[in-house]
Symmetry: D3
Subunit: 315 residues, 6 copies
């Protein structure tokens, strides 16, 4: 395979395999039908147009299909667009499979599993540790496959576990600096807080919101899971209520979808750790694509700000 | 008993039984101790001062105690205040009990029970009807005892059931005018929407917020109850998700504590019926104490507005 | 005539009469001129393109003209678009007229008139009844022709009267449940509240905002009408002031264009009845076009929410 | 008479005539009745306490009565308070009358009348000039007696006319700098904009809000007056609509009670001139009581800001 | 030269010199490359398309180049667009230069210089006068060349000085009406308030934001300049602090980028004068292009309002 | 000395030395003068009343004086209040001095100095290191004496340095987890961000806002200091601009007083570290005074929330 779609410049010719992640039939302003495709590999994605598409093309080139594409990188409304010269479905002998074309966390699943195990091992409160262990066991497969979000940050395979582990590392250091903090409650809250996304999103590879996700939301769904776990484990201490509260309040404000604002110290800290990790990841993503001495594109969830990359950082 | 504390004017002498609903020891600006009491009977409440309180008075005159009081109605900061001349605990032979002194719904519990039964009988969808019947049976006692809120509206014994029944009556008429409305879902949502208050509030007579209530809120607690009921009744249809959504979204906005805004027609209607009934009750309460041709006091939860009572209403 | 433009699918051929409601000359990205038309019949509307339009086409195909169109239903930016093969002006013998092509209320004008008459008959307060009768008589023609808005809800011929009658039906039931409510004032307020739209909008069939409408607004204009009616009828009671207040405050909030918020009980109720009827109509419109088990499009004036149509509704 | 209540310091003895502007019967924390009075002369006002008030004192010392007071200036909650040693009603021979005790504009009524006449004389547009002349004639007495507000700024006798004249002077200069501005429309708008206060407020000397004022507001009432004037003068030009718009929109924002925001250039300018004059008056009032090198008290309607009085201003 | 691009109608042929202010290479929906140009002369600007652009066209037709263009005025998305038939670079003998094609203030630089000199001459406070003189001398060239903003108002050569002089004229009249106002401080604040734009913007002719401008803003940069001037002039009085405060607070609100809200009278007045001048200029610009009896386009920084141009203005 | 004022209960007798931090002469509602004092020692503060105060008491008992007090702990409006029986000024032989009575950071100045030295030693970028070293040297005394705020958090002697050091510790760990972060810029920003408080506040022991502080604010003043330092050290790199930006934007939002929002990654992180440290300190302060199983008082700067202290934390 070539070095990946993200590294091509306008004017270059592309000739390699890509995964179709979206396919829409449209009609051009001159009245002719075409297929608007969104294609990707592990490095990024690109819009593409298959002009003068035939009836059978619609059947061949659907979401989820791997294709061999030959075309030229053009530009449309300031974004690169691939003008397709030739396209065909991948075949048996091509030796390509879907998982080669999706983005993955920059660390291995094994390392993530190992980390979460270590953090759980640090916990002293039996009730919180048992609840946490229950979640990690019960949702093991999804936890290490799902993204943390459909876009913006940690929106890749294992993104959920990667987000959790980074937050746990921040929590460990914060608890080291402020010994009053209940590390066990904070760890349990971090591991649980976004697990509801497993029900809110359809699948790990090209996640969309489920009906249940849109009507109930991951926060409410996870509170139910905590209740279910507590019942099965026959845990009745105040820890169950506290953990539910951490899940409920982790968005920090009513306006951001938490029915309760944080009213336990560790809930407040959990919210800030969540903000820190997601914001740093978004800034890092944008800055990595930016030349020193210039600004990033506007980052929508960071209040549409652009960030400057100082030249002296590179010294 | 006399006609009730609410009907006394400044300058009159009061001599009857009252219930202490709050008692605080304070020190006057001249340095002398006194007891600040909040006293009530079925018609209303009044602030009172027991000047030059002795040590033993603190033990005698506590929250929940019925007292015989003799004193004069004065005024302090524009509010009536009872200056106590003589006070004693009620005794055996006085034949008074606490339930005589609390405010009750203006309709009987029997009528409320009958009404709810009728509305449930109208329901056609078996799943929603079974869920609703489960709640009414499971929480029967509290449902007909609890207030709908600690203050502002329906804050009296059976207030919760009174609020529900009035909302159901509104729902029946609205569904009559708009036949597209799913009456069953709307009825089920109305009956369930505030039942979580049974766990959010400590008790029906002088309710305060429980710790669980402050940390989780009646909305999240009620979603758990719906889940529990569905499990026990082995109901798995989409009705369970829809009913949870109606409960979750009934405050209408994220800022008002709903983690999801209404995304089902009946959820939106439920929110407006809830607003209508609570707002009309608050206006009626205030207007009833107001002379035609004048304005009510400011009503805090109605954006601090005063309402004018036209003179011609009385024609 | 065929079954109406709203029932055609992409790919089908259309061949029938339509009314031009908007016509704009444009230049395609390949530099060639075309006419962008908006065409409608009683069932709905569709965008259309007349490619390679000639000079005389601009004169023939203007707003308000009925045309016979032959073409194919295509799609552009996810919306259906009619690609015109052949188009001509309607002729004498075609037997079509404009009123066949505009949307009308789902009930007859006669029924609406009858209803309003009945509601007025219920009124007991002579001043309010006379004022109301004056309005219905004075603006009779427009009242039963105008829409209640240019878009979103009740935006069809007789929409204003349809909105008023439905609100009156809600008011009757609400007043039945809360006997304290002054039904006469509420009825009068409902009938008057939006009548200013008759001056705010240019005409009933394809209404646009008048200059006066944009500078003064229907609320202020209607207050003037109440004053004028009171003068002509020589009514001097407090009812005039109260009715003006209901008109002034019916948007409920300063931010929504009411110079005063509701300060009379019936004003507050009027605002909520207005919200209920307009919101239910918008949800019903959207849900009617939606399959069970899916979500509607985002509804802009409902805070851009989509609504879910449960599958079990159809049982 | 002495130099006026505003010039007394804490600890000094006061012995002179004052006007009672408010009288409230209260009960002290030691249980004894007292009268809380608000007293004023032309220089300012002071709170006063008549301890151990007798029954007949309530009848003697009411709002609107002039009294001879002897007492000492004390302090209560950081505000001066007059402790009354001796008080009596003014008598025939005292030669005092109410108008000596109210605050008046710093310019004479004659000068204000002269000014307004001159500005009207400058107007060229006959319709606007006739409308303006009508208002000045029709409401002549009130225009030169009413305050512009009950508190904050221009809250003194003739305050309304003083506010109008200062705004007209600003308008003349602004129109001189921007020749595109329609001076006639701006003058007419300034003279009309707050005239509705004549109906909104009860009387010029100790104004309170009328019922009509609270339910309709001076903006809507003045629009009616413009309509009435136009009818009587048989003026039908666009000037009537424009003048109504200037009145309607002069608060500048919906949130501030204007049902329409400014949509005519002169309406926008009118709003800013109104802001400038009221804000400068409030700052001047506060700064005049402040020593150089210190800050004023917080001014509530100026977003609760305090203003610094530089020392070098006094050079 | 012809009368200028702003005066051409759709359908007319244009044949004259224009300056390229922006040039972007794009690909049409039919896959062919074209150049999207923004062209201007002293009267206004127009979008243009050079279809079927060749490789060398990109080098010839760049930002800053003057071209001779022959083409036809078409329309695209309701805006005029020039379809280029023929285009060439301007040559020696054409006798055109860039400064003929940029917009300039409607008054001469000499007059602006004269005015500022006069206003400085009026100042009595030596410290403020010396600081002001320093700025005018130090930044003389830029002050009379820079625009006051990149768009919306005073966005032309010498716009900054034009804005300052108009504000000074308003200040002089306001200080005449309110003698308490410190005219010297107000003048100094007006001259200084926007000078930081000289560092915030790249250059006077086609200004963009500098990196420093985006990270620090003209407000903070100007405070530094005041400090630097005070140091060099060895001025230590309170005037330096006051002047910095006027600069800091001139946006009026924290939300609008002022780290402090106005806390000196002249700071508050400066903010309102700034608002008045910028708002009147924007309204005048829009109204000048509008026919009497119609509305302007929406003006984005005026809360997206359109303004009505009354017909009687023209009388 | 006794164990400190913070440990006394209502009803107990206090007899020890305290520092007067505020003294106000007032008049009781019975007309008698008294002194309202605010007294403190190293453990906390208490309101006190000296009833029947004599003229000379005002001279003896002023802010800053140490007194020997004998009295009884009472309660007024739910807060403890000391009723003074006997009071005298401290004398020579009492061996008490002011610094014994002020609150101090829970760590030593030496340790704070050592820490800051270490963090500076870690820095690699010469420009940032030199700037930082300059600040620490230039403001050495104040840096280790001033509080970080006048109330809410780190409002004690050395609070500023304590806040800085804790933030640096957080920064070190965060930079360890995200290697992309420029640790040097973040350290420099943390050390500089609040140094302007040295000019904003009057003195370290009982700080009030200076005039300059109220008019310019610590943010703008610190930007000037960075400029001054850069000039003196002849540093011209982009680091100066970046450091100014971190100072300017550290409040995170315009509404919170930052004229620019963060537009450099380290500025965003600095803002979050500042929030984390101040919020955790406020929660810890409140929770420390709270029994397990109960809620803290409302914490005003934490959006008025109360925090629950779980019982299981104590395990």
């Amino acid at each position: 395979m070539s070095e990946g779609i993200a590294h091509y410049q306008v004017g270059e010719t592309f000739d390699d395999f890509l995964l179709i992640t979206s396919a829409t039939k449209s009609i051009a302003s001159n009245g002719k039908p075409f297929l608007a495709l969104l294609l990707r590999d592990g490095t990024g994605e690109i819009d593409a147009r298959l002009w003068a598409a035939k009836k059978e093309d619609e059947t061949l080139f659907k979401k989820g299909v791997i294709v061999k594409v030959n075309g030229e990188i053009g530009q449309f409304r300031n974004k690169p667009q691939l003008k397709i010269h030739h396209i065909r479905q991948a075949q048996e002998g091509d030796n390509v499979e879907v998982k080669q074309f999706v983005e993955k966390a920059p660390v291995s699943v094994e390392w993530l599993e190992e980390q979460i195990k270590e953090f759980m091992f640090e916990m002293m409160n039996a009730n919180l540790q048992r609840l946490t262990r229950y979640f990690v066991k019960e949702y093991h497969e999804e936890l290490f496959a799902y993204p943390a979000a459909t876009r913006n940050h940690h929106n890749y395979v294992s993104g959920l576990a990667h987000h959790i582990v980074t937050m746990l590392r921040l929590a460990r250091e914060i608890a080291g600096i402020y010994p009053e903090v209940d590390k066990d409650l904070l760890y349990a809250g971090i591991i649980a807080h976004d697990l509801g996304k497993i029900r809110e999103l359809s699948d790990p590879d090209s996640p969309t919101y489920t009906t249940e996700g849109r009507l109930l939301g991951h926060i409410s769904m996870m509170v139910e899971e905590v209740e279910k776990a507590a019942k099965e484990l026959q845990i009745e201490g105040e820890e169950v209520m506290a953990l539910k509260h951490l899940v409920l309040s982790h968005h920090g404000k009513n306006e951001w979808g938490s029915p309760k604002t944080p009213h336990i110290r560790e809930a407040e800290i959990l919210h800030y750790i969540d903000m820190l990790d997601s914001r740093i990841q978004m800034m890092n993503n944008a800055l990595q694509k930016t030349k020193p001495g210039t600004f990033t594109e506007r980052i929508y969830p960071l209040e549409q700000r652009s960030f400057y990359k100082p030249a002296f950082h590179s010294e």
